[in-house]
């Protein structure tokens, strides 16, 4: 979230698309109701199902699953065509005026530089025109045909209301009504907040769905405002924190790009990740990258990380290429992985194409499960009737199942989706012989370290020299770890402007990442968390809920990254002169000599307005991007592509170009393309969703939740039910090209057939949550059905739009 949960109450319009917070995030959704009650805010919902969020909305519009870009591209077109823009904001705070390379093209659904063979783009033309001074050229009048504003206008001119309706199935009047609601917030003192979740991310074009909303919010001037922003609701309680700590291959903690094969030495690596400002006078905050990186290496390898050793750069593994859940399981399927750990993760249930995942696990030599509960994955080798048909005698995987404590039985911090880091305290011991995850990691690591010290082996140095200064080496405490994450000064940190001034004394916990150094005199385990445990102590444990501004900022409750800032880009909540766009919701203002207000300024505190330091300080441009340069896989402007399993014969925007039917830059593995179903065999659009009584595949283990929602079902509309002779309560079989599930049919008015491109399209809703282990009635894993393909940028699987057939079982 750029904003936070309580801030939703400050919105004038709550736009929910790609999420269903009333059911999936009920206690956060109360702030939507609060906005409706106290500000007379409107709630608008767009979703394939008339869900419970829709049931309390002021307006609801249906949409075919997988066509969000067509809808949102249509909104962009509407705003541009009807001049519903926040003009001053667009001119000053976005890259609308930037000039783009004349060789940049978009033809018949494909951007310049495409290689069909590689299914990817060469992005040489996706860039700005640079002047001799190295800065991007701009046209402040926004009239140059090569400026971002004009290119964007031309790109979305095709997304007329008729075209939108033809692709999405949303009736034209409903689409236009939603546009009117959104366009109202172009007024400088009106804001729209956008709430989304997996309904936007779980598509082969997931990242571009969100890019569309970024463009819309910039055109409306809603970024940085109280009650504005782009707000990912997110899943697990610490999904934000675990992302921040980069428990994935592409990054290091704090979103620092991990080194790959092309980064042959430290200098090359740092140079590539330390951008130069693209406009004069901008903060270009990532220019500090070397300070963050060197401080991390010092935290991990201490005295072994020195200038002479390139700060132990060689100790970091270099990434070979793709490394994500889908690619890892594909490699496992091909027999290239021997050992595997599942920590609190149930991939047999939660990764698409269960058969492929089960076959992959069966090729492992050893599998280690660390979990408080007996998961489906831990018994992938065990027959569970038709829900898991396997022969254990043929599966040679050695499986270890290690019991761990759960949230109530250990201490530490969770970071909510509003980036607020909150300490929690231990309430009881875990049952039996369970251990904390940290003890298990320490036990394995210390054993390996002993073996490498005694017997040697492949490159022991990074193991032997890893810092491990915990009071009990076998039991690192959460307090010690959070202090290490925060970082400290190894030598006195001096003020560069006045070297007689000491900012932090040697040995002290650091208060801010502004004090990190690239010379090896500071440590920091995650630069964006610096300040969470300063000299003042554990700031995540603060529990002062006072709210003097009334905006719900509660600056003394926990600690928000970065530097306790609650609303990102908050400099953009004021005009160029520093006057708030809406004085009634002042987040920040210029007070003559510094920025003050109800948040930690997202700006150099003494940057005078006339210095023209723009609000988007993490971008080398200083402004928000309507055109995303070379940063996205499938193009600088989002374009509608059909899901990989589409009920249509072609992309209605590019009917004659089969290359542009589905995302041309999405990665598809051998065998998976063949496993996609066709509309003639699987005529119905399927979309998976969650129930308010259940949480992923977890609460099926909890008795009370199992009582509330005991059994797998699928949801279909009355019209489809009638066509197929299915009545509520019937057992039905739902098939995709990858397998089938059997479940109870629920027939509702909530899913309606839509008119799409001249034909009728029915949707089948399939809840996840059920499986063969747990207190719920044993059932099929929903991901038996889903396709093994992901978003082109981040490889989040396309769970939300695929094809099935349905019949009475």
């Amino acid at each position: 979230m750029t904003n936070h949960w309580v801030d939703i109450k400050n919105a004038d319009l709550v736009f929910v698309m790609g999420g269903n917070p009333a059911e999936a995030h009920p206690c956060g959704f109360k702030w939507v109701i609060e906005a409706k009650k106290t500000r007379k805010a409107k709630l608008v919902v767009v979703d394939p199902r008339f869900n419970r969020t829709a049931s309390v909305a002021d307006y609801y519009a249906p949409i075919r699953a997988g066509t969000d870009i067509a809808f949102l591209g249509g909104v962009i077109h509407y705003l541009l065509a009807n001049d519903k823009l926040h003009h001053d904001y667009v001119k000053a705070y976005t890259n609308a005026s930037f000039l783009v390379d004349p060789a940049f093209k978009f033809e018949d659904g494909i951007f310049s530089g495409y290689s069909e063979e590689k299914r990817s783009y060469g992005k040489d033309t996706w860039k700005y025109q640079l002047g001799e001074d190295g800065f991007a050229k701009v046209d402040d009048t926004l009239q140059d045909p090569q400026c971002v504003f004009q290119l964007m206008k031309a790109h979305y001119a095709r997304y007329t209301p008729d075209v939108v309706s033809k692709i999405t199935g949303t009736p034209k009047d409903a689409f236009l009504k939603v546009c009117e609601y959104i366009a109202d917030t172009a007024a400088p003192n009106k804001t729209m907040t956008n709430l989304y979740a997996l309904g936007w991310t779980e598509h082969s074009v997931g990242s571009q769905n969100i890019r569309c909303m970024a463009i819309i919010q910039l055109l409306l001037g809603n970024m940085g405002m109280a009650g504005g922003g782009i707000n990912a609701l997110r899943g697990h309680a610490n999904v934000q924190g675990i992302t921040d700590f980069a428990l994935y291959a592409q990054n290091l903690p704090g979103y620092m790009g991990a080194p790959g094969d092309a980064d042959k030495d430290l200098a090359t690596y740092l140079e590539k990740r330390t951008p130069k400002a693209l406009r004069p006078g901008q903060m270009n905050f990532p220019q500090n990258f070397p300070k963050w990186f060197v401080s991390l290496q010092k935290a991990w390898w201490g005295d072994a990380a020195t200038k002479e050793t390139d700060f132990a750069y060689a100790y970091l593994p270099k990434l070979a290429g793709a490394s994500d859940t889908l690619s890892i399981f594909n490699a496992m399927f091909e027999g290239k992985i021997n050992g595997f750990f599942c920590q609190g993760f149930n991939p047999l249930a939660s990764v698409p194409n269960k058969r492929k995942v089960g076959d992959a696990l069966a090729k492992l030599k050893y599998l280690v499960i660390m979990d408080p509960l007996a998961t489906d994955t831990s018994e992938f080798w065990k027959p569970h009737g038709e829900f898991n048909e396997v022969d254990p005698g043929k599966i040679q995987t050695e499986v270890f199942r290690l019991p761990t404590s759960l949230f109530a039985e250990n201490a530490g911090t969770f970071t909510n989706s509003g980036r607020v880091v909150q300490w929690r305290w231990k309430a009881a011991e875990a049952p039996g012989d369970s251990k904390d995850d940290t003890e298990i990691l320490a036990a394995l690591f210390l054993r390996l370290k002993d073996m490498y010290a005694k017997d040697g082996g492949a490159f022991p140095d990074p193991i032997l020299k890893l810092t491990w200064a915990y009071t009990q080496p076998a039991k690192p405490s959460p307090e010690e770890l959070l202090r290490e994450i925060n970082g400290k000064a190894l030598a006195d940190v001096l003020d560069p402007k006045d070297p007689t001034k000491v900012l932090a004394k040697a040995g002290e916990q650091l208060g801010t990442f502004a004090h990190l150094r690239d010379d090896g005199t500071t440590t920091c385990g995650n630069w964006i968390y610096c300040g969470v445990w300063s000299q003042a102590g554990n700031n995540s444990a603060r529990r002062d809920n006072s709210d003097p501004s009334g905006l719900g900022q509660t600056l003394n409750w926990g600690f928000a990254w970065p530097v306790n800032r609650r609303i990102l880009y908050n400099r953009a909540s004021a005009d160029l002169a520093g006057k708030p766009w809406d004085p009634k919701r002042t987040v920040l203002k210029w007070a003559g000599d510094k920025w003050v207000g109800n948040d930690v300024p997202d700006m150099r505190p003494d940057a005078k307005p006339e210095e023209n330091v723009m609000p988007f300080i993490m971008n080398p441009e200083g402004v928000g991007r309507l055109f995303s340069r070379e940063l996205m896989a499938e193009g600088p402007f989002p374009e509608h592509y059909e899901p990989f399993e589409t009920p249509l014969d072609a992309n209605p925007l590019h009917p004659k170009n089969p290359k542009a039917t589905s995302n041309p830059a999405a990665r598809v593995y051998k065998g998976d393309m063949e496993a996609f179903g066709k509309a003639k065999d699987f005529p119905y659009v399927a979309t998976t969703y969650r129930l308010t009584e259940h949480f992923h595949y977890w609460t099926k283990q909890s008795l009370i939740n199992a009582i509330m929602q005991p059994e797998q079902f699928v949801e279909i509309g009355e019209e489809l039910a009638k066509e197929k002779g299915i009545v509520a309560g019937d057992k039905v079989k739902v098939r995709s090209n990858r397998g089938f599930i059997r479940a109870v049919a629920v027939v509702t008015k909530r899913i309606k057939a839509l008119e799409v491109d001249g034909r009728k399209v029915h949707t089948v809703g399939i809840p996840i949550h059920f499986g063969f282990k747990g207190a719920t009635k044993p059932g099929f894993l929903t991901n038996t059905l889903t396709p093994f393909v992901g978003d082109a940028n981040v490889q989040t699987p396309e769970y939300k739009a695929f094809l099935v057939n349905i019949e009475k079982a």
Binding site: G235, I242, W300, D324, G339, G412, G552, E693, T699
Partner: protein, 195 residues
């Protein structure tokens, strides 16, 4: 008139409600207070966070006992934390069932192994489990560690053992995990956050 606790129960069992007895001036002394004491009043309250969605609702967990060193408390009740600025004391149908998650019949209690090709779990000690897993890891790492790629660039990676990390684990666990795995050279690493 004095009534002992046992007598009081007997009177109640005879069909009279406790409150009406009190109204009649038939009030038992100190012992009655013990009968009426709520379990919660003797429980320890701990501030924690719901582990389900990312609203991260504050919860109050009630554990029997006073957390003294030799006492093993049991969690008997969980409710929303009314001081938490986000959930203000509320919990949803998922969070309201947290106690049953903690006490789920499917909680694992000791390390187990399923040997290759067999059809059942076998209980093992932690020490055996750690020894066997660490040996597997070292053998696989030593056999498949890549120090340099085909172009002679130092890459120091180990791709043949992978790790899926929980996004229900706390930051401190995540940090120790990533620190340890990177030191081992593991790059086949991902988290629930992606899917």
């Amino acid at each position: 008139m004095n009534v002992t606790r046992r007598q009081f129960f007997r009177v109640c069992a005879a069909g009279l409600g406790g409150s009406s007895i009190a109204m009649m001036g038939f009030s038992p002394t100190a012992a009655l207070a013990e009968v009426r004491a709520f379990k919660l009043a003797r429980a320890t309250e701990t501030r924690n966070t719901c582990p389900y969605c990312s609203v991260s609702c504050g919860v109050l967990i009630y554990t029997t006992g006073d957390k003294s060193k030799n006492a093993h408390g049991s969690i008997i009740h969980i409710e929303g934390d009314p001081d938490n600025p986000v959930n203000r004391g509320t919990l949803c149908p998922k969070g309201a069932g947290l106690k049953d998650m903690i006490h789920s019949a499917n909680r694992l209690k000791w390390p187990e192994v399923r040997e290759a090709g067999t059809a059942e779990w076998k209980r093992i000690s932690w020490s055996d489990a750690f020894d066997r897993i660490a040996k597997h890891m070292k053998a696989d790492r030593d056999a498949n560690f890549m120090a340099q790629n085909a172009d002679g660039v130092t890459v120091n990676r180990w791709t043949s053992t992978g790790y899926l990390a929980s996004s229900a684990a706390q930051n401190e666990v995540g940090y120790l995990t990533v620190k340890t795995l990177r030191a081992l050279g593991i790059t086949s690493l991902d988290t629930q956050a992606r899917i």
